[in-house]
Amino acid sequence: MSSVSEDPDTGIPPAEVPDLPPPHAHGFWSRWVFSQDAKYIALQYSGTAIAIGLVALVLSWLIRMQLGFPGVFDFISAEAYYQFITMHGMIMVVYLLTAIFLGGFGNYLIPLMVGARDMVFPFVNMLSFWVYFLAVVVLAASFFAPGGPTGAGWTLYPPQAILSGTPGGTQWGIVLMLVSLILFIIGFTMGGLNYAVTVLQARTRGMTLMRMPLTIWGIFTATVMALLAFPALFVASVMMLFDRLLGTSFFMPALVEMGEQLSYGGGSPIVFQHLFWFFGHPEVYIVALPAFGIVSDLIAVHARKNIFGYRMMVWAIVIIGALSFIVWAHHMYVSGMHPYFGFFFATTTLIIAVPTALKVYNWILTLWRGDIHLTLPMLFALGFIVTFLNGGLTGLFLGNVVVDVPLSDTMFVVAHFHMVMGVAPIMVIYGAIYHWFPLISGRMLSHRMGLIHFWVTFIGAYAIFFPMHYVGLVGVPRRYPDISASFVPDSVATLNAFITVAALTVGAAQMLFLFNVAWSLARGRKAGHNPWRAASLEWQTPEVPPRHGNWGEELPVVYRWAYDYSVPGAPRDYIAQDDPGHRASWSHVP
């Protein structure tokens, strides 16, 4: 390495290894099924995630129909209701959001944005998708298994998760759920190692870490976190599977079920909760950090302004990622763990609010004195800021241990986490799809349909989840198929019916989005090269959409960060990352 010397003018080091374009596949199976092209794998991941996500969407309708109009739909028994909420939650958190951000956007954007030809281990990458696919099949199979899917809630708390009082507890449901999670984690680990190594090892010349777009910083940090957090869920799943199938007692104390002494004894249900949330809380940020990164880039491009405080934004991502590993027990304030934990976890949890708030400020300071184009990606980014801010602030209620006591396990919690890790990241996913669809397909999505989709989704989602906080404040617990109780005024039922109508409307708007994608693929306006005039590397490929190997004959060389927008004295309002021209005026530009 000592022989490597930088070009004195640009600071670009010479290539350390020869550039070898990946071997192109020719057969049908190796091109269209077992493809090793990260971009194609990204589409496979996203397509599968969205398909299973549609199941979760339908489940959310059923949940809302029961809550809004209890007793009207006979087929929704208490058992079915618990199966619906369990599968809805698990699909959304793991199989949709985690898969689409890391497997979908990660696969598509990492090689393109860092200037690599592909992931470093394309074969493992292909395997990663197919193991994920298998996990989704096993999950979906539980709908058809005897007894149906598990109804233990997405947290799968033992002992009830594997006992007969819970749907699927002593039948197939919980077994298939745990097997599916184990498969998911195996698949993810293969993909995750790939994403991390590609970011660290396959960046093109000149792409220093501090020149990477925040999208990559978000996805990279989330990947490293997932590689550390998922193993906790993995061992918890394996141990619970043993408890269920082999009669071990990792999480099972001596207990009497329906008057009958069971043969379990000596285990601790709380240990499972610690393992689950040691995964579960970082998981929130595994979904949020890629969203943070992507939305930063959307805002910068569409406000024609560099992201405000780039270095602070990078450090905030890294600090949030690290802190998120020491806040997990804020999900367990009323679990019966030692009460002194409350002091520690409330403090760490509220500390994490500081770097998070800083990110919100910097997004808005990027808009400030910008040149804001109200394109669809920008609209969704604005929608993200509002919903994320709202959900983040209610997190300060739940994180502050004693305030959590009356609110925990109520609809307030449901409203909070849907706002912050449901609606907000989904806003970013849509913004990102509207933004990168032209690169992926070469065509623009219909703006008119997109506007309807945005407004119905944004206003509708806010109308669902903002009032829901107050249902929880009244005291209505979560996970109740029927919320009537002596302290609940009748007006809450009316509010619940309103929320249901809003939810069904928002759901319908997602069908319009799917139609927009199908229609625009065939008939959308041709996008041409770099329609948003973006500076980052993925838009600078020789062909649009980029081919296998991404960069044609020669890898790009990077001369600047990804945010040179509206640089004073530059000939246009952006300077691409691989443009060696015009030097930036700001001395700290990486």
């Binding site: 560099n306 009460p339 509002v386």
Partner: protein
């Protein structure tokens, strides 16, 4: 323009909804008014931040929307501004955390004069146990549970003999006396939750959890389970009645003690024969 106006409307709607909508917490019936106060402080701080940030964003969207000829200002970062914002945020966070931790400390510090009572949960109903004249609850274990001994009291423990066992009925408590609620589950996780008391805690098989409170208002309060415990979770209800002292004593006098139950017959014998323990059956 429409976008900026919508953002302003969202803020107005949210604030108006908070102020005039009829949905608010239940009237409190315990000493945990501190929790409500901390919650209100949190509402004010977070509400102010939400309003300020979204309104500023709306103004930016309005003022800096694209027009032909507009060029964005070039300023990659401002250390001063970022330090100021970090400091202000840290201050706001501390203003919520500090009272929160103080109240938490009270919440977990049980007063010495609190009476210990026990709530036992199982799929899907509540049972209760009150100490008898000796003021102490006898020991218990799931292995003692049988049809005759539904709460699994140790028949050899003399402290258990006079324990009042309420199997499936309602719980009565006297007003104004601090209570330490010991929580026990015989099967799966449950959570003893009375909205008006503000306090709640999970019940975990294999261990005893607790919280404490002082009832401050007489009346009938619904008990719910707040931890998903299987198919009957939503229907696991009961009532706690807070009585004046005299009513409470009258009610207490009518209750059965463990010694009066079939499984408790032995304990009477054991009680007179040997002080503690006794021989196994």
């Amino acid at each position: 323009m429409i976008v900026a106006a919508s953002l302003v409307l969202i803020v107005l709607f949210s604030v108006a909804f908070h102020l005039v909508s009829p949905w608010w917490w239940t009237p409190i019936a315990s000493n945990w008014g501190y929790i409500d106060t901390t919650l209100v402080i949190t509402f004010w701080i977070t509400g102010a931040v939400f309003t300020a940030v979204v309104l500023f964003m709306a103004w930016c969207v309005f003022r800096y929307r694209h027009k032909p000829g507009r060029v964005a200002h070039y300023e990659p970062e401002s250390k001063r501004l970022e330090i100021w914002l970090t400091a202000l945020t840290a201050l706001g966070v501390a203003a919520m955390l500090a009272p929160g931790l103080v109240v938490w400390n009270r919440f977990i510090t049980v007063p010495d004069d609190a009476t210990e009572i026990e709530v036992v949960a199982q799929q899907w109903f509540w049972s209760y146990r009150l100490p008898g004249a000796d003021g102490q609850l006898g020991s218990s274990d799931v292995t003692w549970i049988s049809a005759d001994n539904p709460l699994g009291l140790n028949p050899h423990d003399r402290f258990g003999a006079d324990d009042v066992v309420i199997d499936g009925g309602d719980l009565h408590l006297p007003i104004g006396k601090p209570v330490k609620v010991l929580l026990r589950s015989v099967d799966v996780l449950h959570d003893f939750y009375v909205p008006e008391f503000r306090a709640k805690m999970d019940m975990v098989p294999g261990m005893v959890t607790y919280f404490w409170f002082t009832p401050t208002r007489t009346g009938e309060f619904e008990v719910l389970c707040a931890e998903l415990c299987g198919t009957g979770h939503g229907y696991m209800r009961g009532y706690v009645l807070i009585d004046e002292e005299a009513e409470y004593e009258a009610w207490l006098g009518e209750q059965l003690t463990f010694a009066g139950l079939p499984a408790g017959k032995e304990v009477q014998v054991a009680n007179t024969a040997e002080p503690i323990g006794g021989s196994d059956p």
